[in-house]
């Protein structure tokens, strides 16, 4: 093991910008949560306290992840990956069905698919660290990373947790632009993707999920189910106008016309009460965070760190994209929270690990 000397040097390079962006987002999310909770949503004022506790825990997780040199994660990447796959299998075996999915352990408190995403990113980073993406010119060279992605995605589909499965797949796909395969290979991937979608639609989706997607494509189909939620969300966002209705003043939020406003539709609350200015501000902080993550990738001293950072950026990007697109009526209603912003402890844990890893790669950019 490297000595503490290294650690001390690294701490001098602590990435205050990334940490600052994370804190800003989290605080904004908390302020927003206070308003969403004030409407008397289920759980009440309790959820603000719970979220604060979860955030303190997240800070601790970040600290632990940061303190271990990320090259150890490289070394144990496949082991960690295997471990998370094991957890997925265990979940499949023992978990009870909750909300239609068999995706939770410890009576709904822990979602193994969340850490499985990180395991997958670590494994991909290790593989690409040894097989530089730029050197990959044939599709068949992507067999191993393909398998690394396919296993957790398949297991998560088996858990009937569609949203997370799609997310995991998207995170894996984030790395594709890095490789140097020719155009026809891309077409091949697209064809495979389309076939995958058909299979997913037929076998992977439950009727209510199919309904949701159809309802999104044609909101008049069922204006009271998922279409209703989306309509209410659009009304909330729109009634925010330029400067918003003011904190705790949004009628859509306070009168609970917004569904699951503290989790999946937290961004609607923000858009209603803080308007265009507030929403763009939060999106800007988010974009800054993602670009900062890419900068960390560029400045990384090794391939593992670079690919890891890109994977982690994907891990933050895709749920945010799906969530905001859903809130703005651009995507069907899929229960995906906005990372760092929405209420929810389980998702916060994996996000904290991701932030910790990013900080880790960033502060060790001068190490060797």
């Amino acid at each position: 093991m490297n000595g503490l000397r290294v650690e001390r040097t690294s701490l001098q390079h602590f990435d205050w910008v990334l940490a600052g962006l994370v804190v800003v987002l989290a605080v904004m999310g908390l302020v927003n949560l206070v308003s969403a909770a004030a409407s008397g949503v289920e759980g009440g004022s309790d959820i603000v306290g719970r979220q604060t506790t979860a955030m303190a825990l997240a800070a601790f997780v970040i600290a632990v992840v940061v303190l271990i040199d990320y090259r150890h994660y490289d070394r144990f990447a496949y082991v960690l990956y295997g471990g998370t796959i094991g957890l997925l299998l265990l979940t499949l075996a023992v978990a009870e069905e909750t909300r239609g999915a068999r995706a939770w352990l410890f009576s709904g408190r822990f979602q193994p698919s969340e850490v499985a995403k990180i395991g997958m990113i670590l494994a991909l980073a290790r593989w690409f660290g040894r097989n530089p993406p730029a050197s990959i010119r044939r599709l068949r060279d992507l067999f191993v990373p393909g398998v690394i992605v396919a296993i957790p995605v398949a297991l998560i589909i088996a858990q009937k947790d569609l949203g997370v499965a799609v997310l995991t797949l998207l995170i894996g796909l984030t790395l594709l632009p890095l490789v140097n395969v020719p155009l026809r290979a891309w077409l091949g991937i697209a064809a495979l993707g389309a076939a995958g979608l058909v299979v997913l639609w037929t076998y992977g989706l439950k009727p209510y999920q199919q309904e949701r997607i159809l309802g999104f494509l044609d909101p008049s189909r069922d204006p009271l189910a998922s279409g209703y939620q989306q309509t209410q969300s659009k009304i909330a966002v729109g009634s925010g106008g330029l400067f918003g209705t003011g904190w705790q003043e949004g009628t859509q939020t306070q009168l609970r016309f917004l569904p699951t406003q503290h989790t999946d539709f937290a961004f609607s609350v923000l858009a209603e009460e803080w308007g265009f200015v507030g929403s763009v501000a939060v999106l800007a902080v988010y974009a800054a965070l993602l670009f900062w993550g890419l900068l960390i990738a560029r400045n990384s001293k090794d391939g593992f760190g670079a690919v890891l950072a890109i994977g982690l950026v994907g891990m933050l990007l895709w749920p945010a994209t799906i969530n905001v697109a859903m809130v703005l009526g651009l995507a069907p209603v899929i229960g995906v929270p906005l990372p760092l912003f929405s209420y929810g402890g389980s998702a916060l844990l994996s996000t904290a690990i991701a932030i910790g890893l990013l900080l880790n790669v960033s502060m060790r950019r001068y190490v060797f």
Binding site: P132, A134, A236, S239, L255, F257, G329, L330, F368
Partner: protein, 668 residues
């Protein structure tokens, strides 16, 4: 191996994206966030106003506050119909958590089948799932307390308060008061219902309909902020409803009650017949005040107050004897011998007879080859006008009618107000019929036969009058020739008793016939009641001179029923019994007409006692009231104190002429 990570290193040293291609990811992020900002711009800036409007519609609900319908009171201020707050129970389908429990508890409280309640509420999926479904509109005190106690244990169950119409005396004056009901789709389009909303309660018949504009009041409203479940969060603004106006009728409850009682049959021979069918009208001949109006059979208008159920409606509507119809204004009967007073007046006015003209009655009258019999087989002997009226001598009137001719008969019938609606402010009044040759040719396409004129002279034939028409005709005799328009409403007041409008007495025509002639007719009518063997002797009231005339009218030709015992004759073939009277003879104050429909007896035997009950009550009350006149005036006008005091002073000053004081109150 001091560098365990050596093999993991990239050849690239990190300066630029040469080995790691970052620009696609950068572009992707820019595209996604650019799309989001664009979409936010579209929703918040471009469509912001519209969506803000929709959020208001979402959260602000307009709730109508129903105005309490105005009270209807009698001439002395006694409440006949009023509205009171009623508590109903409703269920908001969306909020029901445990349907089985909810409906079984409610079922126990309402004493209804839980399954029936559940199916009444149903499981709507659209927005109506936030709207309460009413299960009962009028809970008793106990049920209300039970619902209130269970409310928090049963989410979705709520108490609703709404005004409910109440007719204090049930079926009393039912057809005159009329019914209310939800406005019909067709009515909403009519100009007189401009500004009404669907679901609103409106007067359908009777006074409720004719006075709709006054009784309705003005609905208020609340703009209420509601949450997604429709629960009230806060009130933005509120406009209180203005209760409907109070309506003071000319009706006298005491007389009305007496009139209603007059229809009760206490005949051991007919134990199954509890109430007579028919109508009764009592008028004040001086001003047209409708003091009592009965139509029998009746119904309980309370059945309509909370929305009539289908079963009740059907049975009332399809009943052979039409209880919903107001026979006093819409029932037509041949006037029979009551018509003779008009024929007499016509003869005197035309100079065909005078009071001394004698006609010998030998029991029959011949015209051409036909013989018309007098009801008295042996004949009345030689009769003058007074005796002809008193004895109801048919031959005298055959002779008179024949001389007058059908046109003159019709002319005078119309003068007295027959043959056209009296103009009483109630909907559904009919014209009746005064037949003429022109009418017969037009309607039946047949020529008039002289024999028909003979039938007309005694009120038979095609003659049809309504009870109120007959009352108006007799009022014209009683008041010296003024054809009154019956007055239903004395006064319109605001809900808190300020006078809005006094309804002045109205006369359709004045001096239609000379008072001297009417005096002669009255002399005959007086003898009908006051003479020892007068046909109307059963209408006598002790101490009061009463004038009147009975009438018995056949419904079918005699040979259909001739050989049957009276109780064997089917109800629909039995005779109508009529009696028309006024009193006191010297200065008439009240006219009463009673019709016993298919009563199966003579007017003198059946209708005269009915009239008598009303007259007796009237004069009995008058006698009691003399010492308490002042108090009555003060009661009749409870708010307009200055006026009441002024009237009191006048009464006091004029040396206790209480009658004058009463008149001053009734005829401002």
């Amino acid at each position: 191996m001091n560098d365990p990570f050596g093999d993991a290193r990239l050849s690239n040293t990190g300066d630029g994206p040469g080995e790691i291609r970052l620009w696609p990811v950068v572009l992707l992020i820019l595209a996604i966030f650019g799309l989001f900002v664009g979409r936010l711009f579209q929703l918040q800036i471009l469509e912001g106003e519209a969506l803000l409007g929709r959020s208001r519609i979402n959260s602000v609900r307009q709730v109508q506050l129903e105005a309490q319908r105005g009270a209807i009171v009698d001439r002395e201020g006694r409440t006949i119909a009023a509205s009171r707050p009623a508590y109903g129970v409703g269920v908001v389908p969306n909020d029901v958590r445990n349907p089985w429990r909810t409906y079984s508890v409610l079922g126990a409280i309402l004493e209804r089948d839980p399954r029936e309640l559940a199916s009444a509420v149903g499981q709507p999926r659209d927005r109506t799932r936030f709207q309460p479904v009413s299960l009962s509109k009028d809970l008793g005190l106990e049920a209300r307390a039970k619902v209130a106690a269970h409310r928090y244990a049963l989410p979705g169950v709520e108490l609703q308060q709404k005004p409910l119409r109440e007719y204090v005396f049930g079926p009393l004056a039912a057809q005159m008061l009329g019914t209310i009901g939800e406005i019909a789709a067709g009515e909403l389009e009519q100009p007189r219902f401009e500004g009404y909303r669907s679901g609103e309660i409106v007067g359908k018949t009777g006074i409720e309909a004719s006075e709709e504009g006054h009784l309705r009041g003005r609905a208020g409203g609340v703009n209420m902020v509601v949450d997604v479940a429709g629960r009230e969060i806060e009130e933005l603004d509120r406009v209180e409803p203005t209760p409907g106006g109070r309506l003071v009728l000319a009706l006298d409850l005491d007389l009305q009650q007496a009139a209603e009682d007059a229809f009760v049959v206490e005949d051991p021979a007919q134990p199954d017949l509890e109430r007579r069918m028919g109508a009764l009208v009592a008028l004040d001949p001086r001003n047209g005040d409708v003091l009592a109006m009965v139509s029998s059979p009746a119904f309980d208008p309370n059945a309509f107050a909370g929305g009539v159920d289908h079963e009740t409606w059907r049975s009332l509507n399809q009943d052979e004897w039409r209880p919903l119809r107001n026979r006093a204004i819409a029932g037509v009967y041949p006037p029979g011998s009551t018509y003779k007073a008009i024929v007499a007046a016509a003869g005197l006015a035309e100079g065909v007879i005078d009071s001394t003209t004698i006609v010998p009655c030998y029991g029959s009258f011949r015209l051409g080859r036909r013989t018309y019999r007098c009801w008295k087989r042996g004949g009345h002997g030689p009769v003058d006008l007074e005796r002809a009226i008193a004895g109801s001598c048919d031959v005298y009137f055959y002779e008179l009618g024949n001389k007058l001719g059908v046109e003159k008969l019709a002319h005078y019938a119309r003068l007295f107000g027959l043959g056209h609606a009296t103009g009483v402010a109630l909907r559904g009044e009919v014209d009746g019929l005064v037949p003429t040759p022109e009418w017969k040719l037009r309607v039946r396409g047949e020529r008039w036969v002289d024999g028909e004129t003979i039938s007309l002279s005694i009120g038979q034939g095609a003659n049809l009058t309504t009870p109120i028409q007959l009352a108006v005709a007799y009022a014209t005799i009683a008041n010296g020739g003024r054809v009154i328009v019956p007055r239903i409403v004395l006064r319109r007041e605001t809900w808190d008793g300020r006078v809005v409008e006094e309804i002045a007495p109205e006369f359709r025509a004045e001096n239609v016939i000379s008072p001297a002639i009417l005096q002669l007719v009255t002399n005959g009518l007086r003898r009908v009641v006051m003479e020892a063997d007068g046909t109307g002797r059963r209408a006598r009231v002790p101490g009061i001179e009463v004038a009147g005339k009975s009438g018995t009218t056949q419904v079918v030709s005699l040979d259909l029923v001739e050989n049957l015992e009276p109780e064997e004759i089917p109800l629909r073939y039995r005779d109508h019994a009529l009696f028309a009277a006024f009193a006191p003879v010297e200065s008439p104050e009240i006219v009463v007409v009673a019709v016993g429909e298919h009563a199966g007896g003579g007017g003198g035997a059946i209708a005269a006692p009915m009239v008598q009950k009303v007259l007796a009550r009237y004069f009995e009350k008058k006698e009691q009231q003399v010492p308490t006149q002042v108090a009555t005036i003060a009661m009749a006008e409870p708010v307009d104190r200055t006026r009441a005091r002024a009237t009191t002073r006048v009464v006091g000053a004029s040396g206790g002429t209480a009658t004058r004081g009463f008149d001053a109150g009734a005829l401002p």
